[in-house]
């Protein structure tokens, strides 16, 4: 995949074509390791050999869109598949440093759903850094997420922290959404982000994570962030930037200069590729295909040479 223009401004089509969208995606197939070097992703081989050659650096996991409480035909047992994902994490030969969860922990923000999610995810015995999805702010008083995960965070729940020389930033782009618009960070959060990055060495690897993609994936389905470009302005001067998102329940990747964008699979249900269905709603697939479309991602840094590898592992297949 080349680092080409994804806006398709020179094309004859007025809208983004399906072919173009597909060109903009990297479907990380089973067991393929993507290594990012000099802005160009290269497939190195199968997971097993990649894991064996794993460097001793920072390694963390991303899970996303667990939608605890979802029980519709696309996956009547979203709790079961979350348990399977956590089971796989527990069985990993190399224990990751921590885990991030990029939102939609629950389906309807019910206390019982949050409790259930905590009960299952805590079994991984890893620190978990959360950002909320729009499904986590549905309770009447909008307090359950913040009570559980928002301590020490700013605003609606944004924060940053450091690990092994990597600076990680959790952003919230699911509140104060405007009619007709996309995800939204808001002025207050953007100011905080600018201040958070000010004075930081440009060689610090940056990881930004948020629920809705910070890049424009498919606006017709709301897959993008209205003011995401402003956040990206603040990070683009850094030598290594990785943007990790969820929300779209499928793996997509794009590279722009030093910035790698990547979205993780859900542990609950798949969603269709952009424009391939009437809506982005849950996609029903044959029972024996479901687990190939659910999964987790692991992100590995080898400090010093600015290389980052993202491995998407499906629950099955």
């Amino acid at each position: 995949m080349s680092d080409h223009d994804h806006n398709d401004e020179g094309g004859k089509d007025t809208g983004i074509s399906r072919r173009r969208v597909l060109e903009c995606m990297t479907w990380a197939g089973t067991g393929v390791l993507w290594t990012i070097s000099g802005g160009v992703p290269r497939s190195l081989g199968l997971v097993d050999s990649a894991v064996a050659a794993q460097p001793a650096g920072l390694s963390f996991l991303q899970i996303s869109d667990s939608h605890v409480g979802f029980d519709k035909p696309a996956n009547p047992n979203a709790i079961g598949t979350l348990e399977e994902a956590i089971g796989r994490i527990k069985a990993m030969p190399i224990k990751p440093s921590f885990m991030i969860h990029t939102g939609d922990i629950t389906h309807l923000s019910k206390a019982a759903e949050f409790d259930q999610a905590e009960r299952i995810i805590s079994q991984a015995k890893l620190d978990v850094h959360y950002v909320p999805g729009e499904h986590d702010f549905l309770d009447e008083e909008v307090k359950l997420y913040r009570e559980r995960y928002g301590r020490g965070a700013k605003g609606a729940g944004w924060y940053s922290f450091d690990a092994n020389g990597v600076h990680l930033i959790g952003l919230v782009n699911v509140v104060d959404l405007k009619a007709g618009g996309l995800g939204n960070l808001g002025a207050e959060q953007l100011e905080w982000l600018e201040a958070d990055l000010r004075g930081r060495s440009r060689s610090t690897p940056i990881v930004v994570f948020a629920h809705i993609p910070l890049w424009t994936v498919y606006p017709a389905w709301g897959w993008g962030t209205e003011d995401g470009a402003r956040a990206l302005e603040y990070v683009k001067g850094f030598g290594s930037v990785t943007v990790l998102n969820g929300h779209i329940h499928q793996v997509m990747q794009k590279v722009e200069g030093n910035v790698t964008f990547h979205t993780a699979r859900s542990t609950a249900f798949p969603q269709p590729a952009p424009g391939t269905a009437p809506s982005p709603g849950p996609m029903k697939v044959a029972d024996d295909k479901l687990r190939a479309l659910l999964g987790v991602a692991s992100i590995n840094f080898k400090p010093g040479d600015q290389r980052l590898a993202i491995i998407d592992t499906p629950l099955q297949g």
Partner: protein
Amino acid sequence: MIPLTQRVGGKLAIAVAICLFFGGAHAYAGESEITIDNFTFSPPELTVKVGSTVTWKNHDDIPHTVVSAGKFRSKTMDTDGSFSFTFTAAGSYTYFCSLHPHMTGMIKVE
């Protein structure tokens, strides 16, 4: 497979029949329903008379809301959930889903 044009034609015929049934009226007091299917409000624009009650019903497997800034705000409607609002003042009410803001609609009350 029925050709797309033919199916659209069929829908059009039904729509015309409904219009004829209601005497071609643009607005009618009483009850109206807006369905949510595939992340879309249907009909996206609706004209009703003052005093009418509009009910939104969610047929998707994903929850939705309807919010009209300063006018009304539903609770989260899960699958098959609904929300009703009675319009007591004339005007144009634009609304959207606060979870999926690309979903927008309009009620014209006259």
